[in-house]
């Protein structure tokens, strides 16, 4: 057993989840593959969205994967950082918009 929760080498083994549940694993990877194909959005655009989400959900595997994927697609570091900010802005916006709830509650309880 590894003595830490995250091991970079585990990323290579991602495909193995299928071994313990073939049908669901395969369905997931099919779906995943399809999602990132060229569509109404380019594969390049989707890669940047994935990078932003990876940061918001703070998944180290996804961050490694989509940084590399971006490099492979010729995406620049400035574009990658802007995507991360887009994710971060939504995340902090989501926190801050709850400030309205706090204000509502405050006002309701106050005379």
């Amino acid at each position: 057993m590894a003595n830490s929760y995250y091991d970079p080498a585990d990323l290579r083994k991602f495909g193995k989840i299928t071994e313990w549940s073939e049908e669901l694993g395969e369905k997931f990877f099919d779906y995943y593959g399809k999602v990132f194909e060229e569509g109404a959005l380019t594969a390049r655009e989707k890669s940047l969205i994935a990078l932003a989400v990876a940061h918001v959900i703070k998944c180290p595997y996804c961050i490694d994967s989509y940084t590399k994927d971006g490099l492979q697609r010729g995406i620049t570091k400035e574009e990658m950082m802007e995507a991360v900010h887009a994710g971060a802005a939504i995340e902090s916006g989501a926190t801050l918009v709850h400030g309205v709830q706090m204000m509502n509650k405050y006002n309701k309880l106050s005379m």
Binding site: R12, T42, A43, R44, K68, L71, Q72, R73, G74, T76, K77
Partner: protein, 351 residues
């Protein structure tokens, strides 16, 4: 960025034995990853055999004005291996009689060979259909004596293939050295000015892209679209095709992979991206590579690993196409670089 070749630094990776030891050992020796040989045996391609000779690739010397971090030739200003006029004459004999339709001159910077122009003039008389010179672009701006190269290439109807790591300055200079981007842009504009790379022009100008780091190239078509758009919009530059080439784990790129602790991940990535349908079209199946001193190899990569062809004919002076075509190609784990994804050759994707 280093300014000396591995050879001049006396780095042990400058020797082919050390490189082959690494490529055959580690992950492959302990069974974590399959040997290339076993992988292609699964689809009946072992031993790997040539099909038909189409491309004669001649390396006229390892001297280069640049010292790119990823260079599989370990080229640089300090390399003294330069093809002599005598060997060039032996090559010309072969060029006149070959069945190959493409002649591909490479280096180092081929233009730095003192007999380069004479050789191009003579070779262009042989009537080869496609005559390629691999030019690194900056050489055209390196010194006054090279300023007229675009016109010289045009005069001899040379097909120019040039390397361009990225359409932004930052990424280009990081891989190839400071100032490379601006010089390359200027050189491309000059090639455009004499007609190279223009839509419908017969003067072919293609670009080669290879990743500046430990990752594989993305989709060639998508990269080409991005390069075309940005180079046109930002610099009014046009070109014909973009070839996306995978960096093979040899020479300076291998040194980089090991020093940056990316070697294992990179080999995993190459093996994972193995595409069996690329095997039948790897470059060595239709190419012969000639070194500066006239030895024959299955490809430019095997040349750098000093793996001469497994044939009775090993040198340009004894050249015999039929004998050469009847040989087994020498492979090792670096070959995974040619079968990753859409495959990779000196002319881009193969699958």
């Amino acid at each position: 960025m280093a300014t000396k070749s591995l050879k001049a630094q006396q780095n042990e990776l400058a020797t082919s034995n050390k490189q082959l030891e690494i490529l055959n050992g580690g992950l492959f020796a302990n069974g974590e990853l399959p040997y290339f040989k076993d992988k292609i045996a699964e689809i009946g391609h072992f031993p790997l055999r040539p099909t038909r000779l189409e491309i004669l690739q001649i390396n006229v010397g390892y001297m280069c004005n640049q010292v790119c971090a990823h260079c599989h030739v370990d080229a640089g200003p300090d390399r003294k291996e330069i093809m002599t006029k005598e060997t060039m004459m032996q090559c010309l004999e072969v060029i006149k009689n070959t069945k190959a339709h493409t002649l591909d001159l490479t280096g180092g910077a081929p233009e730095m060979n003192p007999n380069f122009r004479w050789f191009v003039e003579e070779a262009s008389k042989a009537g080869i259909k496609d005559f390629i010179v691999r030019s690194n672009l900056t050489i055209i701006r390196a010194n006054k004596k090279y300023y007229d190269l675009p016109g010289f290439f045009k005069k001899h109807n040379v097909h120019v293939i040039s390397s361009m790591p990225h359409y932004t300055k930052g990424k280009t200079d990081k891989q190839r050295g400071d100032g490379v981007f601006d010089k390359s842009i200027k050189a491309l504009q000059e090639l455009n000015a004499v007609g190279y790379g223009m839509p419908n022009s017969n003067l072919k100008l293609d670009l080669v892209y290879n990743p500046s780091g430990a990752y594989l190239p993305g989709d060639q078509g998508a990269m080409e679209r991005d390069f075309k758009k940005r180079l046109k919009e930002d610099f009014n530059i046009q070109f014909h095709n973009l070839f996306a080439i995978t960096n093979l784990p040899i020479a300076r790129f291998l040194d980089y992979l090991i020093a940056s602790e990316n070697y294992e991940d990179y080999m995993y990535a190459l093996v994972e991206a193995y595409n069996s349908s690329a095997v039948a079209n790897v470059m060595c199946t239709n190419t012969i590579s000639v070194s500066w001193d006239g030895w024959l190899y299955d490809c430019d990569f095997n040349q750098m690993l000093d793996l001469k062809v497994a044939s009775k004919v090993k040198h340009i002076k004894d050249y015999n196409e039929d004998v050469l075509t009847d040989r087994n190609i020498i492979i090792s784990q670096h070959c995974y670089g040619c079968t990753a994804g859409a495959g990779s050759s000196c002319q881009g994707s193969v699958a």
